[in-house]
Amino acid sequence: MGLPRWIYVPAVLGAGFVLLPLLAIVARVDWPNFGTLITSESSRAAFWLSLKTSAASTGLCVVFGVPLALVLARRDFPGLGVLRSLVLLPLVLPPVVGGLALLYTFGRRGLLGSELDALGIQIAFTTVAVVMAQTFVALPFLVVSLEGALRTAGQRYEVVAASLGAGPTTVFRRITLPLVLPGLMSGAVLAFARSLGEFGATITFAGSLQGRTRTLPLEIYLQRETDPDAAVALALVLVVVAVLVIGLARQSRSAL
């Protein structure tokens, strides 16, 4: 079936709107100094901190997101719909608001602050806070992706496995998890990408301390004032990582 011809005009405009700024960044890069710019001490520190915290938060998303998605997809109880909406709230919440919420929960004067303080634990403005901020905003991506995969897979194989004598944990480990593995992979990749780009919640809850809480997006934002060339070079690094991540996600989905 053909498409109306006029539809190509907004389609091309839309694609251009996304692609042109990316080209603008590439065009603006100071290529002769690119290597030096992205290997400066502060850049390297920010890059490794970003990779490490994103990996950690992706791990946390898997640890908490898989059980959460299972409960949302497989159980039915009053208030389930409300719970789902609340868990997915960070998807639509401005990250700065998320950061404030975390600060007033885990910060020194927060809801749990005095208890944590008594235990000698300080979270706000540490690397742990970066990971928590990233997990907060990235968790819904994994949950949404995995819950969809679980619902699509259905429960028929699980029922058969149970009738063959497999207990709930065996069914989860040998049937449920392998069947939704592609969905889990693409969910994890999305969560990683979201963590990598996290800015608002991080700067609010974790601040911007070089080597401890200053991740790549924060570094780019700071450098923009003092050294625009370095900011552009680092931005390109993030673009490349994002493109790689999308490629990975596509691959894990086509493996389905």
Binding site: R156, Y157, V159, V160, A161, A162, S163, L164, G165, A166, G167, P168, T170, V171, R174, I175, P178, L179
Partner: protein, 351 residues
């Protein structure tokens, strides 16, 4: 009795009780919505009834009363393997790993589980497919693997929910033979629409209708001399039982019925069944002499209008004729007529 089930499920209007002796195969027959699958789900522990009791080999698996549930053994701890219409082989495991899944789940070591899986695959005739992936199997092969997978758990009770309903007709006779063999000493309940399956595989039959047991007895008896019209009209199939003599099924009345053998040719002198569709039967007012066809001299007991034809009942036999033919023949209860059917339209089974 090694298995007893009684259950009432209010929102499905089901209230049935049934029992299966050790080593016996029970067929559950009935139209759609008659409660067959509900009874099976209660047996497997997938559904908790409002009221009911399920006992297997002396162990209470379900005990529910309106006042509260006292026992409900989860599905995986019941030793009741379930085989449905679709094979539902785990797509991420090889055929061998699928069959070894049950033994592995029961804590049997990997090597021993694989060995038993090989044995069961051989038993159902697909030993050479062990290394394949489920996606590489035909429907019939996949269902054979599913049978092996269910049997490999060595269930105390095997539950089969229309195991052949979704398969190509071409593979049915061979699978039927396999199921007959493996069900011989297995305590099992088979839900089916096909009275032939019930006759060939089951020792006893329970007929359900609107959530109640309406008929019960030895499959031979229920299906060939049904008291209820439902059992007779189940699949609209004519069933003639007798003894295999000189290449034909000979009934107790001495009528000989010729046909083509499905599966192995019956043994001389053994019990045999001939089946044919009512649509393959021609009805005559006078005896057809010297015809190569199988003929039955019968008395019409009922004339029943169907959607596009008239069904003529004569005892346990039925014929479908056109409205015009029924009018020309002036068919009415009490009339003596001859049913005639070509040998090529008749299937013969050893029993």
């Amino acid at each position: 009795m090694s298995f007893q089930l009684s259950c009432a499920v209010r929102n499905r209007d089901v209230d049935v009780a049934l029992a299966v002796a050790s080593g016996e195969t029970l067929a559950l027959l009935g139209p759609n919505g008659s409660g067959k699958s509900t009874a099976l789900a209660v047996a497997a522990g997938l559904l908790v009834p409002d009221r009911g009791r399920v006992v297997l080999d002396g162990e209470t698996l379900t005990d529910a009363a309106p006042s509260g549930l006292s026992v409900s053994v989860p599905p995986h701890a019941r030793r009741t393997a379930l085989l449905g219409q679709e094979p539902l082989l785990f797509p991420h495991l090889s055929v061998l790993e699928n069959v070894a899944f049950g033994p592995r789940s029961r804590g049997i070591r990997k090597a021993a589980a694989r060995e038993s899986a090989h044995r069961w695959l051989e038993e159902v005739g697909v030993g050479e497919l062990a290394e394949r992936r489920p996606a590489q199997l035909s429907g019939g092969q996949a269902q054979r693997v599913a049978v092996a997978r269910a049997l490999a758990t060595e269930p105390a009770l095997l539950l089969l929910d229309e195991p052949m309903a979704a398969l190509d007709v071409a593979v049915l006779p061979a699978l039927r033979q396999t199921l007959r063999r493996v069900l011989a000493d297995q305590t099992a309940i088979i839900v089916t629409h096909d009275p032939l399956d019930a006759l060939l595989m089951a020792d006893r039959v329970v007929v359900l209708s609107q959530g109640r047991v309406v008929e019960e007895g030895a499959s031979n008896h229920v299906l060939t001399r049904p008291r209820r019209p439902f059992a007779a009209r189940l699949a609209g199939l004519n069933l003639v039982t007798g003894t295999w003599r000189a290449g034909a099924v000979e009934t107790a009345d001495g009528v000989r019925v010729q046909g083509h053998a499905e599966g192995d040719t019956p043994v001389e002198g053994a019990e045999a069944i001939a089946t044919f569709r009512p649509g393959a039967v021609a009805v005559y007012r006078n005896r057809v002499e010297g015809s190569p066809r199988n003929t039955f001299d019968v008395t019409v007991t009922e004339v029943e209008p169907m959607a596009e034809s008239i069904r003529v009942h004569a005892g346990s036999l039925h014929a479908d004729v056109t409205v015009q033919a029924a009018a020309e023949l002036e068919l009415a209860p009490g009339l003596r007529v001859t049913f005639s059917v070509k040998a090529t339209e008749v299937s013969v089974y050893g029993r």
